[in-house]
Symmetry: C2
């Protein structure tokens, strides 16, 4: 049998995936499992998007252009303008989800052995895409004590060497919900300028900012236009995770031309998804208001509820729909697994993502979990009760 690749062996298996079989068997035992582990919103997709395909009058589902339909890209220009992101249709490349945008950005910018610095905890799949490109992620740790704010720039400087090619941020942040301040974004800008780095900025949660604080996009930073690669996706914005439509935006022409070579190799992004995403730009303003209000309520409900549980602490996330909370356990990986394999309360249990999988630095996040608030308040309320009971039981086990 021929041997698989080194990179295949190195590819991470996230802790969520490791726990998925336990979740399946909990369901098989008849338990109701509250999915606090994933970013799959329960919010309905806008009717405008669904109508677009119900009324589809095409006879042939043909290839779309490799950079996506121009009509969609032109309409996106107006969408971004509302956030003071001034781009042209030619700066936008439509991708197969934000995932492909990250992969193509890495393939186009990074050679095997090149390094990028990522504040952690960070979205686990950045690591997977880095491994795919043969690149190395160097984590700079943020801490729950400091609310996961940007680590000191000195810590970035310490890691910079001749292989450092870029910095990757997620803003608002998955998994922490942190929103970088203007001062922090300016610090990042200076660093990028000083060392001439790429700045990969994943801003797919810009609709979900709850504090009134300004949203500072990497595209707002003047003077580093050729360094910035914006990663975007409609998945969360319109609850359209399944259609796999994202975007890679850059004003760097050489980079755009290079990314296009990867786009042309895979021929085109999904046709139907683009039709849905384009139509969703016309969604009723009520849709966004209702969605936003719902997340605001859920956030308050979840964070208040978490901080009422003895020994649990969650900072208040400013955006996205996740929080990283500290639990009174020695090993959150074991605790999360135990919740699925050994615990139940009133026929229910919870599936949380151990935070260790969001750190590249071994040993960090051992007592932290990521919790997504993509469930309705009733379910969130029940999940909080189950969590409190689970912690009580777990911490009174003889082996503790």
């Amino acid at each position: 049998m021929p041997v698989i690749s080194e990179r295949g062996i190195e590819m991470p298996n996230s802790p969520i995936r490791k726990l998925a079989p336990l979740s399946d068997s909990a369901k098989a035992r008849g338990l109701k499992v509250y999915h606090l582990n994933i970013g799959q919103p329960d919010i309905a997709t806008p009717e405008a998007g669904l109508d677009a395909i119900r009324n589809l009058d095409r006879k042939i589902l043909e290839y779309s252009p490799s950079d996506g339909y121009r009509s969609y890209r032109e309409k996106l220009v107006g969408y971004y303008a509302k956030y003071n992101i001034n781009v042209s249709a030619d700066d936008i490349i439509i991708t197969t989800g934000g995932s492909e945008a990250v992969l193509f950005a890495f393939l186009a910018c990074l050679d095997p052995g090149d390094e990028i610095i990522v504040p952690e905890p960070a979205y686990a799949n950045y690591m997977a895409f880095a491994v795919s490109a043969g690149a190395v992620i160097r984590g700079v740790s943020s801490t729950i004590e400091e609310g996961f704010s940007l680590p000191s720039i000195d810590k970035f400087e310490e890691l910079i060497n001749e292989r450092t090619k870029g910095i990757m941020i997620c803003n608002p942040n998955n998994p922490t919900g942190y929103l970088y301040t203007r001062a922090e974004m300016n610090q990042i800008k200076s660093l990028v300028q000083k060392h001439d780095l790429f700045l990969f900025s994943d801003e797919v949660y810009r609709e979900f900012i709850y504090t009134g604080s300004p949203y500072i996009s990497a595209c707002h930073l003047v003077g580093i236009e050729d360094n910035v690669v914006l990663i975007d996706s409609v998945s969360k914005r319109y609850s359209e995770c399944g259609i796999r439509i994202g975007a890679l935006i850059t004003k760097n022409k050489e980079l755009r031309n290079t990314v296009m070579k990867f786009c042309q190799a895979r021929l085109s992004p999904p046709l139907i998804g683009q039709i849905i995403a384009e139509a969703s730009l016309d969604a009723d303003p009520d849709y966004f208001r209702d969605t936003y209000d719902e997340y605001v309520e859920r956030r308050k409900f979840l964070i208040d509820g978490l901080n009422r549980i003895p020994g649990v602490y969650s900072p208040i996330p400013m955006g996205a729909f996740y929080t990283v909370a500290r639990l009174p356990v020695d090993d959150a990986d074991k605790f999360c697994a135990w919740c699925l394999s050994d615990f139940e309360y009133d026929g229910q249990t919870i599936f949380m993502a151990p935070a260790s999988g969001f750190y590249t630095t071994a040993g960090l996040g051992k007592d932290e979990v990521r919790i997504a608030y993509v469930l309705n308040k009733e379910d969130l309320g029940n999940a909080l009760i189950v969590l409190e009971k689970a912690l009580e039981t777990y911490n009174s086990l003889p082996r503790k």
Copy 2:
């Protein structure tokens, strides 16, 4: 400005893409351009597929499983069984087009510097996916004189070294339309066994075999089940190029688990595309008969027409919907560009793909073009007239 990656520079720009701007400007001058260059069929998508989305009753367009919907994979088992390909739903991974299947196969099997041997001319994007994975394609040339049959196995053996990890074939072949015989497939099998190689087999054109010769899938080869990676796609089968649904099929469990890590990183294949593809499996049998009959006629019409033009020679392709033809020109790249930039006949011109882009060996295919017969007979007839006139004019130019 930070520098892009070496692999970005190395990524090939296919000759088709280089000519696309010339085609656009020919259209801007008001010319009718016959697209003989691409594999975008003009055949309608099955109504069963279109109806599935017109009647969609989902409220949330959510992520699908990373390996695709089980219902679709189970239904595919029956589809493959009709071709005596015996696989289970667990052997099938749904991908974002056949393109992603090739990319993930290469990422999972090949490390930077690893080599695969590909009979050429070959689908140009294999090269692009190899570059993405840092791998190297070694071409073994087939020739128009031998009808593009499998090159001598000795030529493969000559290239095998410690970095050789696999062989990639396309059967029926794009661009040549060649269909490997049972004897040839057995030769490949012996080679794969002898050197314990992966056999990547792209068989997306299995519906389009016109000669009554048997279709020998790589999955029919007994004893190399753990070596075979089947690449598939619904793009051509149902004229659904835009929905981006393909498959990677392997019975090698370790490889499957590794490919799944890449699938999980990109979360899921397109949801709507899977719904369309699954419904298309129920397409009316008349659909396939009509489509098949149409291609049979077009093939005869095109190949007869080509071979009637003085100095032009095309072998008779056994499958797919392309042929590689020899033209009486010194440089087909220049001739194809000239057709778009300088020639017109009766307000029309033709866009053909120079075959040089399908060879990795420099200098090969200089007088060959790939012609797709995805246009209706009337258009094909006009295109043949334009080609004949273009050759006459080109070869009587003073510089010749």
